[in-house]
Symmetry: C2
Subunit: 461 residues, 2 copies
Amino acid sequence: MRSLVALLLGIEFAVASAFAGGPQGVSYDSVRTQLLEAGMGKCESYEILRQLVTAAPHRLAGSPGAEKAVAVTRQMMLDRGFENVHAESIMVPHWVRGLVEKASITRSRKHKGTPLIICALGGSIGTPKSGIEAGVLEVRTFEELQALGPKASGKIIFFNRPFDPSKVNTFEGYGGAVNQRSRGAIEAAKVGGVAVLVRSMTTRLDDVPHTGVMSYVDSIRKVPAAAVSTLDAEMLSSALRVDPNLQVRITLRCETLPDVPSANMMGEITGSEKPNEIIVVGGHIDCWDKGQGAHDDGAGCAQAIEVVHLIKQLGLKPKRTIRAVMFMNEENGTRGGKAYPHARERAGEKHIAAIESDEGGFVPRGFSVDADSAVLARVRSWAKYFEPLNAGDIRPGGSGVDVHPTVQTGVPGFGLNVDPQRYFDCHHSDNDTIDKVHPRELELGAVSLALLTYLISEEGF
Amino acid sequence: MRSLVALLLGIEFAVASAFAGGPQGVSYDSVRTQLLEAGMGKCESYEILRQLVTAAPHRLAGSPGAEKAVAVTRQMMLDRGFENVHAESIMVPHWVRGLVEKASITRSRKHKGTPLIICALGGSIGTPKSGIEAGVLEVRTFEELQALGPKASGKIIFFNRPFDPSKVNTFEGYGGAVNQRSRGAIEAAKVGGVAVLVRSMTTRLDDVPHTGVMSYVDSIRKVPAAAVSTLDAEMLSSALRVDPNLQVRITLRCETLPDVPSANMMGEITGSEKPNEIIVVGGHIDCWDKGQGAHDDGAGCAQAIEVVHLIKQLGLKPKRTIRAVMFMNEENGTRGGKAYPHARERAGEKHIAAIESDEGGFVPRGFSVDADSAVLARVRSWAKYFEPLNAGDIRPGGSGVDVHPTVQTGVPGFGLNVDPQRYFDCHHSDNDTIDKVHPRELELGAVSLALLTYLISEEGF
């Protein structure tokens, strides 16, 4: 434990910083203090998240859980006195996992009968009822797959390129691996593959498979695709070195049903001076049908509700309208995000900013800004207000998948940046449960979002 | 999940930053990359920590566990080819908890027989064998206690001031509460109190008591002191409102035995140009006899060993000697830290820097610098090398309890600053186990420490 001398030096430094603001400094510093006092004691965002994931742990668009989540968040907004609480209807894809997803090694002297822990990728077709049994070709890249050409025909293509663990930003590790999941089935089919196994997208070595969206193109044969746990990916790779002719049988019952109706849910605090000028703060209410979608993105939804709740609770009366939006269908279609800027309800509204939290409910670091250099410079000039939250890192970057279509209409976009070390432990898997979310980390993100939202509301761009 | 566009924008920004260094920039940027590649894939610091806490979960100075920890870390250093591996003998206090520590409410209509979850504070005397039974006086501050004066006589004094949850830096919350634990027994005895119960020092509401050191002064009667879990502190407070005359019985068997021999353990990589100029990087190998001392401070010890290991593994041949030191007895005496700068082994050595990691194995934020303004400015000029580790926050502040006596001899001191949100969940309690440590967070701290150590070794002050 650090000595008290150290501590007191630290406090002195913090106090010195707090008065380093410009002419508005004292006022926004005071708002930050009020937000911290109202927020950190109760960590209400955590209670909102708890209620959401308890009522609707599985919230894939089109599922009963997703509709339950819309209803639950509506009620939470009404209970907290939000205004203009309403749903905006959209149609969403309806993919279902089915009751069976399994794989095992067959035709191997040493490994026959060994199960592989898998789960279907979102959007995959199913296999025939008896499954698909074939030899396995392990590759790390699409180039390697193409080079192997004829050897791929009739095979299950096993994409086994791990994250690069040396990337401090785990999203870079993900970015370097995820095309195996998103395009693997297309590339496999091109060379005659019959199915796809993809090493799970995670920084961890464990026995939990991580799902996520995959895609087909109409011009290329569709083959089923599943994620395999990283430990079983290592095991299968070892087994293939010993016995390159082993076979694997994969059985999936997943299927895509016709689109169904769903909705974006939202509620707000009306601006006191410019009610038609809107600041959106949102997350996506849908999640995969694994775990509870606690970090991805129950956290962002809970924070968005908490932002409006905190601002109302403090009696701040923001000049512009602050709207919490629960976007639907980020995971496999972004229908909610795409519909939002073009909905008939947007008539007469002018959007000033669109802010998203969708990197998990971890401790905040700052914001990325998807806007012109003038807006970036403006928000950077506010960094001093966020530094006492340890969230003063303002940098150019994307906002979020859901608000991106709004940002594309010319609205400045913002994304909450959080510490990314633990995100891919959970992402799209049974690990993504609320016990992985820390109440203080989640609430500090909500406080940071509330402060940014309020600053934009008062200062405009 | 953030879009790939966002991700790529982020990467572009990171790449642009990486080349923003001075003339030495490319070289130290390259060292950082090598450290990340060697460190993050294996997270060896986590394996070191695992071995330490498995072999010696309880390591209070004077205990068999502490001696086991000295032996285990010696072997780890030898196995990794460290040079000058040796122990430096010291005498340490020998406090033992005893087999019994319990409390319950007595003489109350409603709550009679309700147990209170407690643990003795380190250094406390025991109670008589049959315990101490008395009425309870709840206070929040020493001023309140003094004002109540005569009402305190013959009572168990119950200090129940919580952390201020609005402090972003939880060490400030701790700093605002910890005098109840450290001086409570003295203040209670001054007004005739017969024993002390202290609300546990934690940000959480749970049923786990948190121990920690307390003190007596020779001129004032000694009374026994225990921590009570925060949930039971709330319960007791409620019960007192209903029934102010309830009594509590506390039984503790703890005692202080004569001092025993122990040691600081250390090993190093010898400087290639200035072998007698030493950079210390250390943590404390002792911990409380609750949990495993995984964050406090197994983490710091594991990181210190990993720093020397990484530098050796990369073949870096630092100009100055880098020494990993496992300080003994930080928790209840700092005998190791106090002995180190004055030990006979220091003859002929010149210390250039003393670095400590003792805020838990959480994700690093940067360093605090306990040195003159020239050194601070120098280290701040290196911030660019740490920013890609998200650890570029260099600020004035304390170093660490163990290196402080060395710093007081004029050596620049440094403390690794980490994200503090989760630290007091674990601190000094059964919660402080290795499952609360994340391998990537711990290793990023080790990489940050290795980079700072190497920079100081090459650049000097």
